[in-house]
Symmetry: C2
DNA sequence: TTTCATAAATTGGTTTACCAGATTAGAAGT
DNA sequence: ACTTCTAATCTGGTAAACCAATTTATGAAA
């Protein structure tokens, strides 16, 4: 089953159907950016579905920046143009659920950039946060406990200091899926955690000293095991 | 105003407040992964807000993989652990709206990876799609019309063939914001479009011939102007 | 005591009714 | 004809009522 990034349940199918119908309507009526859609009531009547279903479809299109609802006024076609809209909707409907490989591949890409930016832009306050996450991770590992959560919180702490809210948001989006997949495929890596402590410390130091390339290099080494694992799955 | 990735309206403030309260409740009750939250009715009563408000807060937490609602059963703490949950929620609530620089910075990062993957994984069918987007762009430019939409659809066509649904989804998420910012800051770049045609063609050929490094190199050149613009804004 | 069928209660989801702000139509005044 | 003001209408959002599936409680049978 295909499902979007918003992934909820199997009712997604009917949402997609409604999205297609709304799109067709926009094209039929030659609505331009800024134009108002028929009201939710009209749409639900015309498409013979409940208003809530229409609202959910609109929500999804709004999430992807294609529509814009304004409280007591109406729902409008965002000013990205109808060509972009039609193209995007095709791709949105075709979006598949991310598999583990996609997630890891993306995570590594994001984090190698994030650690560079973080080392350039980190404030002193940021360093305190990262250090706290680092200490929490170390304590857990030295206690012999599973520290997957603390591991990823350390990485999120870095993402939070990179000064790029888009990258930060993307990291937050994929982290839970990464964790659950770690558990699913038993990539918890308890045995590697002691090594990981040293690597985390080295990353922290590099960020602290603003050694951009070094920070990136250590992060790359840090991901080596994960990287190999990722490309051995397929 | 701070706002999350889901960015809707100013009522986000109260959603965040509810999210905090729900989190506190989970901690108070020492709920572990897999445990069931109080029902939506109980929560709305206890927190003295409407049930719909509770539902929206839960939806957001579900989007970020922290909670999981099961239809006639209940809402459960996802199995990422309470430590990860608490850390993530702090970061989620602190998320700011992405600025243009964040978007461009992220786009370039994503696309340089995407074009590599696409050149490795593209099918013959993919090539047809990319070529169609390429032709549409060329026609628009040669007609002297603004071709921002067709430009980005070409890039989305590539993203759609990269075999990584996470990266593809992220590209879809930022594209509309990129377009609106282009218009806002007048980065439409009509004068550059003729050059862009050649670059697009070269990218297409490289993907077609599966010349991975070359594809990436051309994409990098293609982004040069945008890159400079991005780092001159601040 | 255990097992299993049955009914009552609980759940998230959905439909319906209602709300307050925004828009529009039209009349009144100039 | 053109404003201006007002009231009726229309809008997305929200609260309340309802639903079907699930879970739990109950108790009879073994």
């Amino acid at each position: 089953m295909k499902v979007g990034v918003l992934s909820k349940n199997d009712n997604e199918e009917i949402h997609n159907k409604i999205i297609v119908q709304i799109t067709e309507l926009i094209n039929l009526k030659n609505l331009e950016p800024g134009d108002k859609l028929p009201s939710e009531r009209m749409l639900s009547e015309k498409l013979e579905v409940s208003r809530s279903a229409v609202r959910e479809a609109i929500n999804k299109l709004e999430f992807y920046g294609i529509l814009k609802s304004i409280p007591q006024s109406g729902t409008f076609v965002a000013d990205i143009g109808v060509t972009a809209m039609n193209g995007m909707i095709d791709y949105i409907l075709g979006l598949e659920d991310p598999d583990f490989k996609s997630l890891v591949e993306t995570r590594i890409l994001l984090e190698l950039k994030i650690v560079k930016l973080a080392s350039l832009r980190r404030t002193d306050e940021d360093l305190v946060n990262i250090k706290a996450a680092l200490d929490a991770f170390e304590e857990k590992v030295l206690n012999g406990e599973n520290a997957v959560q603390e591991d990823l919180l350390f990485h999120l702490a870095i993402a939070n200091t990179c000064g790029n809210s888009t990258l930060n948001g993307f990291m937050l989006k994929i982290t839970p899926e990464i964790i659950t997949n770690f558990k699913k495929y038993h990539v918890c890596g308890d045995e590697l955690s002691v090594v990981a402590i040293q690597e985390h410390k080295a990353i922290y130091e590099a960020i602290k000293n603003q050694e951009t390339q070094k920070a990136r290099q250590i992060m790359k080494v840090h991901f080596k095991t994960l990287y190999q694992y990722c490309y051995n799955i397929e």
